[in-house]
Amino acid sequence: MEKQRPAEEGLFTWPSDEPQLMGGRCKSCNTYFFPKYYVRHHPDCQDHSAVEEVLLSRQGKLDSYTIQHFPAPPPFTNPEPFAPAPIGWVSLPEGISIPGRLTGCELEEIEMHMDVELVVEEEGKDQEGNGLLIWKWRKK
């Protein structure tokens, strides 16, 4: 049976039927950030110790997108054969927008501000032949 693993650990919950992105939040200044390592505080924040890990909402709206008509360079692992790849930024209720590949629809069906949800899919393989998992935003 083919093995799969997250392309990088620590970014989304896995294995899971309803995976979530693992972000961070400062409870004091109410700033959310992703990944959890790239900490951001409001300039007026008085308590930097109030940072916690949070699981981010799975539902969002497509802010904007592009379609990349060429394979991305390493370290990305493109699927074979290559197909033009839609990539979008998605707004979440937490007040942050996070990019990811789009999935679950044809290119012509992508609409600005459409509802999407977070999924995890395989995109390419590592050198041992394991499937590499990344998060994507799927049209609802």
């Binding site: 392309a7 790239y38 997108y65 370290p75 990305f76 930024w89 007040g95 927008s97």
Partner: protein, 393 residues
């Protein structure tokens, strides 16, 4: 702080030079600047150099290899990297050294040799670094970021694909008039629209190439400048900026941003320009022409608005009315821009300054802006980083 003047400028041609090191290219730019200022290398009292990130240790300390080439005089050397704003920050540092009275004659130099194809991550892969992750987990390229930002703009202002093409056409008209530009062809809108779609809606000819280049400037105290150059150009103002909390621009190299806009788009560039205007005691209405970072047609549309030249959504109309060409309301990128040179990330800011100085001296030939008295340079910068200069004569 005392007044500072630019007394010498020099550059190496932009292009691909596999047989030349960044030091070789730096030396060409430096020697041209020295000749322009009637100076010898030993007259340089301090050096500020742009870091070359693709080049291992010697690239991280270019001051050492440059002084080895030019002759080791023991002068202070500082090496700076601020992404695409590197060269302008090099210039700003040199300016501050002279303005403070610390030294009288300082060299600003930056060279870059771009790797093949699209840029990818730099340094040791770090799974905690957002820039590494945008490549590893998404494969989102630089033009991809710009295209995503552009589509939002198009939805908001009704920008058409013709407007994207017009930006390239306008840039190419100036490139054709610049003997030092790499790309000298004048494009038509049809040719641009016929080029391959790269990151929808940006086409190939609406995205800059990457190239090698080097440029230098020599700054000195204004009260002695006329000894070295008959037409010294005064540094009226400098600015530098970083991102402001609440800026919703999809920031190159990050994978998270605020949804609600409580700060201006490209805030790092906005605050950098404001700082430069304030330090110069001038406003956008005083600027006769500007060199802005046209990495893509999105930049060309967005930047004039962020720099305060006209209101949001108005660049499209300016392009329709050809107001960014010679004789227009605001000539943009009389050098031909990055569109006509390709981008050498670390060096681009000093290429912009080279053009502004040339214009202010009245030496721009067929692309001369009539009555040019005040020029501005502005860079973009990955991760939110930017720098601005305002020069006058």
């Amino acid at each position: 702080m005392r007044d500072v003047a630019v007394i010498g400028i020099g550059m190496h041609d932009w292009g691909k030079f596999p047989d030349k090191t960044f030091v070789d290219m730096s030396a060409v730019a430096i020697k041209e600047a020295l000749a322009d200022a009637s100076l010898e290398w030993k007259d340089i009292q301090e050096l500020v150099a742009g870091i070359w990130v693709w080049g291992s240790i010697s690239g991280l300390n270019p001051g050492a290899s440059i002084t080895a080439m030019m002759g080791e005089t023991g002068i202070p050397t500082t090496n700076i990297f601020n992404m695409c704003a590197t060269a302008t920050n090099v210039f700003r540092a040199a300016y501050n050294i002279v303005a403070s009275g610390s030294k009288d004659i300082v060299l600003a130099i930056a060279a870059d040799k771009s790797p093949k194809g699209f840029f990818t991550t730099v340094g040791v892969p770090d799974p905690k670094d957002p820039d590494y992750l945008r490549w590893k987990m998404i494969g989102l390229t630089n033009p991809g970021y710009w295209a995503i930002q552009l589509r939002k703009r198009m939805e908001e202002y009704g920008t058409t694909e013709r407007h994207l093409a017009k930006a390239k056409v306008a840039a190419s008209k100036f490139g054709a008039l610049n003997p030092r530009a790499l790309y000298r062809k004048v494009y038509t809108e049809e040719e641009v629209l016929a080029s391959d779609m790269v990151c929808d809606p940006l086409r190939l000819f609406e995205i800059c190439a990457t190239r090698d280049g080097a440029a230098a400037a020599i700054l000195c105290s204004a009260d002695i400048a006329k000894k070295y150059n008959a037409k010294p150009v005064t540094v009226a103002g400098v600015g530098e900026g970083s991102s402001v909390y609440g800026d919703p621009t999809a920031r190159l190299g990050l994978i998270c941003g605020p949804v609600e806009a409580t700060a201006p788009l490209i805030s790092e560039s906005y605050v950098s320009a404001q700082m430069a205007y304030k330090s110069a005691g001038l406003g956008p209405e005083d600027i006769d022409f500007v060199e802005l970072p046209d990495n893509s047609s999105w930049h060309y549309l967005q930047y004039p608005e962020s720099l305060g030249f006209w209101g949001p959504g108005e660049t499209e109309r300016m392009l329709d009315d050809q107001q960014t060409g010679l004789g227009g309301k605001l000539p943009i990128n009389t050098s031909g821009g990055i569109a006509s040179f390709g981008e050498a990330v670390g060096a681009q800011g000093l290429l912009q300054i080279h053009e502004v100085v040339t214009q202010l001296r009245g030496q721009a030939g067929d692309r001369q802006v009539q009555g040019a008295k005040v020029g501005m340079t502005q860079t973009y910068g990955q991760l939110g980083n930017s720098a601005t200069t305002i020069l006058k004569i």
